[in-house]
């Protein structure tokens, strides 16, 4: 067979690629030239609209629709060939547009349900909390102040100016970080600057990784850019129970630190006064205390949380043991002062084996008999 398709204007309609509806008679091959409207309604009426030439009506049917008809227009000027109405068919383009509209509506609907429903916490949470934070609770508003304000509040918060103090407020309601909680290592800026100055004069040779120098020159040092740092700058959450929030690469540490070095073995500043001075060690068996002593005699005196006996140091980097007066003495003071103790009071520094003869006699013991 020859070519099926013709493109000359007499035998070819122009199929507009953006049309959403086509004539319902397409499957029979008898497509009307006017076609349906944008809403898929058939517009067919007559095969042409006759025009008046002098005192006679003339057929205007196009050549692509077989030209002028033999019968010609009626005496009243109407066409003699009415077109049977059809049910227009949606084009592939039209169907795709409808699927897109459905997909968009469905997505928006699902998100509205997700953000307004009672299960919003579970649906929107980007992941589990670390073990310690998980103990605080699973409510979003515990850590995210804006959560309770709903979607509009979230959008407002998203467009609000950056506020490290506000962002970290909830963190600092639990974590006692000293006087400068929004500074690196919770040290005041003056102390950091002083330390940086000392290190700069101390260390003359700096062998920093090229990439680190490049990164600093491109993006600057965080210390010089921001007055304050939010906690989330270094500590991430919602990465699962086993995630280490304190983990940080050496290079990230060095992005702030004045003295930079290639590695621990190459260029790291000398450790001064290492090992650092510390208080006398006290052997304290947590297991035996918790499982034995606190369960029996000292239940009412037993500590309830870690912070009953421990507190962070000034830098907020290490957990110190609180003083004797607030820890050991709660249970052991009477033992030390000797309340109800036989013989000498207090804890002896050195003692030789012997008998407390005076006391034994006072108790009526038969000594030397």
């Amino acid at each position: 067979m020859g070519l099926l398709q013709k493109f000359d204007f007499k035998s070819s309609n122009y199929e507009r690629p953006t049309l959403h509806w086509v004539c319902g008679n397409i499957s029979t091959g008898k497509v009307c030239p006017i076609g349906p409207d944008g809403r898929g309604q058939c517009r067919a009426s007559f095969e042409c609209e006759p025009i008046k030439e002098g005192d006679r009506w003339s057929c205007t049917r196009s050549k692509s629709s077989d030209g002028k008809c033999k019968a010609g227009p009626r005496p009243d000027g109407s066409c003699c060939l009415p077109i049977t109405k059809c049910v227009p068919v949606e084009t592939v383009r039209g169907m795709r547009g409808r699927v897109v509209a459905w997909a968009v509506s469905l997505t928006i609907g699902l998100l509205i349900i997700a953000t307004h429903g009672s299960g919003a916490v579970n649906l929107l949470s980007p992941g589990g909390l670390t073990l310690k934070h998980g103990e605080v609770g699973t409510k979003c508003e515990t850590c995210h102040e804006a959560f309770e304000s709903g979607l509009s509040g979230w959008i407002h918060e998203a467009f609000a100016p950056s506020d490290p103090a506000g962002t970290s407020k909830k963190c600092l309601s639990c974590h006692e970080m000293g006087a400068a909680p929004l500074q690196a290592h919770s040290l005041p800026r003056s102390a950091l600057d002083q330390s940086a100055l000392e290190m700069e004069t101390l260390e003359k040779v700096k062998v920093a990784p090229v990439a680190l120098e490049f990164a600093r020159s491109l993006f600057g040092s965080p210390r010089k850019i921001a007055e304050e740092l939010a906690c989330t700058n270094c500590h991430k959450e919602h990465r699962g129970t086993q995630f280490d929030k304190t983990e940080m690469s050496d290079n990230r540490c060095q992005s702030c630190h004045t003295v930079r070095f290639a590695s621990l073995s190459m260029g790291h500043p000398e450790f001064i006064n290492y090992p650092y001075s510390r208080r006398t060690r006290v052997q304290f068996d947590h297991v035996s205390h918790i499982s034995r002593h606190f369960e029996k005699a000292g239940k009412e005196k037993a500590p309830e949380t870690c912070t009953n006996c421990h507190e962070p140091d000034d830098n907020g980097l290490k957990m110190k043991v609180k003083g004797f007066a607030t820890t050991c003495s709660v249970c052991h003071l009477e033992q030390i002062t000797g309340v109800g103790q036989v013989g000498q009071k207090g804890i002896s520094f050195f003692s030789a084996p012997g008998l407390d003869v005076a006391e034994l006699r006072a108790q009526g013991a038969a000594i030397g008999e």
């Binding site: 397409i26 998100l111 949470s125 992941g127 995210h144 509040g153 490290p164 990439a211 850019i225």
Partner: protein, 274 residues
């Protein structure tokens, strides 16, 4: 410049840009910045550019860059955006339901896009090889109706000309349904001509019952059967060419809505960092 060398050049440029973005992300993280914000914004911009290609096609009359160039840009940018997404997610599977849905949507869009590249690179060539005539998809039903009408007339003519209802009966039972709608979609897709061969064998098997004139009419009908098969072939392939967009485009818009929601959630709750 040949097609192959142009493709190599574009792949090279695309790989260089992707490598630069990986490096930039690494340096940004090293400078104690939140690299996920950098990769996230680059990702959003990239995805927005990919999405507006669909809008570009809605305005063919505007003097914008030709669609062919847009498509090239769309494909290569798509690959860069996949690299950015892997960077942004640290190549980890997300944990929360919202994030998981977002992740799945992205890969559904990216995956359908990659499949789309395969389709749009292979099927047009096959169309040209098999048929030779570039048929407009919307016109195929009209041509099919024409062929069906011609075969119906041949069948009717056979009754009077050969005084036998053999061809007309066969038309009523087998050919009328065959010409009524597109047939053998999967066979055309996998380039199997078995259904056509079987049908032609069936037609030839009738010849023994016909006289000379009847055989001439039957030969004519067979030509129309082949022509109908030649219409079904581009119909099946063009349907696939258009059909994959039923997945790619709607999911793209859903993905963009999820992306906007993700941005709001991140800025509202993740805590502003450097």
């Amino acid at each position: 410049m040949t097609f192959t060398s142009r493709r190599y050049r574009n792949i090279l440029i695309c790989a260089a840009i992707a490598a630069s973005l990986v490096l930039l992300n690494w340096l940004f993280d090293m400078a104690l910045r939140d690299a996920s914000f950098l990769s996230g914004w680059l990702l959003i911009i990239g995805m927005a550019f990919l999405t507006i290609y669909n809008l570009r096609k809605k305005f063919p009359f505007l003097p914008l860059i030709p669609s062919a160039y847009w498509l090239q840009f769309h494909v290569y940018l798509g690959f860069i955006v996949i690299v950015l997404f892997l960077l942004h997610t640290s190549m980890e599977f997300p944990r929360g339901p919202f994030e998981i849905t977002f992740w799945l949507l992205f890969f559904a869009v990216a995956g359908s896009g990659v499949i789309g590249i395969f389709i749009t690179r292979n099927l047009p060539g096959r169309l040209q090889q098999r048929h030779g005539e570039r048929l407009i998809f919307e016109r195929i039903p009209v041509f099919r109706a024409d062929l069906a009408e011609q075969v119906r007339e041949l069948a009717m003519k056979s009754v009077t000309e050969i005084s036998s209802s053999t061809i007309a009966d066969y038309y009523a039972v087998r050919l009328n349904p065959y010409f009524a709608e597109p047939r053998n979609f999967s066979s055309h897709l996998f380039q199997s001509e078995r259904p056509l061969v079987n049908l032609r064998r069936e037609i030839r098997s009738i010849q023994r019952y016909l006289n000379k004139r009847g055989r001439e009419i039957l030969d004519d009908i067979e030509v129309h059967v082949i022509a109908k098969d030649n219409l079904d072939y581009p119909y099946a392939l063009q349907l696939v060419l258009k059909g994959w967009l039923f997945v790619h485009i709607p999911l793209t818009y859903s993905l963009m809505i999820f992306a906007l929601m993700h941005v709001v959630l991140v800025y509202a709750f993740a805590g502003r960092t450097l």
